[in-house]
Amino acid sequence: MATAVAEVKAEKASLGSTLWSWLTTTDHKRIGILYGVTAFVFFLIGGLEALIIRAQLAHSGNDLVSAETFNQLFTMHGTTMIFLAVMPLSAAFFNYIVPLQIGARDVAFPRLNAFSYWVFLFGGLLLNASFLFGAAPDGGWFGYPNLTSKQYSPGLNIDFWVIGLQVLGIASLAAGFNFVVTIINLRAPGMRMMRLPVFTWMTLVTQFLVITAFPVITVALVFLMFDRFFGTTFYSTAAGGDLLLWQHLFWLFGHPEVYILILPAMGIVSEVLPTFSRKPLFGYAVVVYSGLLIGVMGWGVWAHHMFAVGMGPIADSVFSATTMLIAIPTGVKIFNWLATMWGGQVQFRTPMLFALGFIAMFIIGGLSGVMHSSAAADLQQTDTYFVVAHIHYVLFGGAIQGIFAGIYYWWPKITGRLMNEKLGKWHFWLSFIGMNLAFFPMHFIGLLGMPRRIYTYSPELGLDTLNLVSTVGAFLIGISVLIFIYNVWWTRRHGEVAGNDPWRAATLEWTIPSPPPPYNFSVIPEVVSRLPRWSVTQMKAIPEVPPEPIHLPGGSYWPVVTAFGILVMAAGALLHSLWVVLLGGAVLVVGIYAWAFEPFEV
């Protein structure tokens, strides 16, 4: 299984063997690319759903889509963007960048990493296959019973959702364990915890949230699945059950999930800002500690999603207070970012523009979030477009802009070519303007009384103009994404060759060629400071050619086989066929054993 360097370089082969090599790859860089490309396709699908939603709402009394279709669209838009776009786009960076930033040759468990990707892909395909059956999930992304109970949703729609999310949970959990261990254990000599780049730190916090939060939603989903499949009574009020159990379990997961979505973007911004301000991050330790604090406090705020259900004054006060408190570490980070730029030589390259956009938009989203912390105010805002405005400022203005900052920033590292600046700036400004046109009016639309998730509205509401503005903004975002795609295509052929370090950045990933060789580092670097490339005490140079042969793990097809077993089990559950489930289980068991006993040296 050992592969010498020379053999890897000789790898130029037919289409079949290329496909095979991607199918069996355990290289974190290739898996990162797979994550990125797959998640971007899902991002486009989720975006298309958003555009149809906005087209339907462009004016009152519209009948572009039916109410049923509309329900499916907003459910799949939310589910897709959260689980199939933002999370895996972040995962693309975890995979590609984290090992490079800590000076490692791969992740701790390369095959588990491949397994995560394949399970994610299969879970995403399964969820979207529901469209082929005309039965896409339609119960909203938080799937409250009894709306999602068998009685009110007898079709396959919710089954797809319940099973698809469980499959995706497996992928996230597997990746979570992998990255926690990778970051703790695979750091190069001298890379102490307090020398880790902030992006890697935020990845660690994110993965800790993943491994603690996902079991909770898994339990909630299992209860719902049992209720639907076997007639249990978890969410049946007639049997004495309480619908709030779902809401509590869901938001126990759901709020950490919010930080799972935003912390990686915060990490990316913390890399981009110092590079383009030509200054180290202001208050590194404070940024790290506030990230940790957000990770822990993120567990104590979940019920602020439920003020409207009447939890009583004590619970309402406690969750109001914790929600206001969590704004503090978040605000601390923002001040640190601003102070990083203060007095720096700020260069407005595309990644920097997106990072600045992130800060500005995240402040707006954060402020409307703190408004929700007041239970009394929240009662006016719950289930209106005000909440939709808030989450989009946080998740589009925040997470997606952060991710685009990361894409423009690390694209030269990943592909070896710099993206076109002019097209990048067009992308940024169009998406920035479009986003504010689309989401800012929603604050007013909501406060003026338009509920979310309603497929149309009457002209008497007087919200036609604001809704039209919002729709125009959404299509501007769509155009900006097309410009990005064109930029990718253009860069492939005409992009300026990047070299090792086009941005003159500080962290380890810029010490090696772009794209990095399969072994990443010809020799494992010895880290002497937090900013290895900027510090006075220079680290030893990394030779271009490895001084001695490097052992690389070969590929393995057992991860994809094992993942396939899970897909078959999920399909069997959907079909209510025990035999198919058992068949999938058999594939899974064979996969696990073959995996465990296959000779594979990391």
Partner: protein, 102 residues
């Protein structure tokens, strides 16, 4: 490997300790079941049982799972989620009125 192996194995307890822990676990279990059947203990049954089972939990985790002797990182990576789970359980019981109704 040899360095790591030595480091990890010098920490394990001896067979005698394992047997002693097993004896204590058995005794606690007997006490638990005994307490359960004695009517006099009924008013304080819940706190007694919770303390006893926490003691068993701690014994197994510390000795059988070697956390007492192992690297502190393992304790950290286990106890943080454990505390979260405990906090979640207490919070849910509170939210669903378990402490009010008794």
């Amino acid at each position: 490997m040899s360095d790591t192996a030595r480091h990890e194995h010098q920490g394990h307890a001896s067979t005698g300790t394992y047997l002693a822990v097993a004896a204590v676990l058995t005794i606690i279990t007997l006490v638990e079941v005994g307490v359960f059947y004695v009517p006099a203990f009924q008013p304080v049954l819940v706190p007694i049982l919770l303390v006893l089972s926490a003691a068993k939990f701690a014994l197994v985790v510390m000795f059988y799972m070697h956390l007492k002797f192992d690297h502190r990182l393992f304790t950290l990576i286990f106890s943080l989620p454990l505390l979260l789970a405990l906090g979640v359980a207490i919070a849910l019981l509170f939210l669903f009125g378990a402490f009010v109704l008794g």
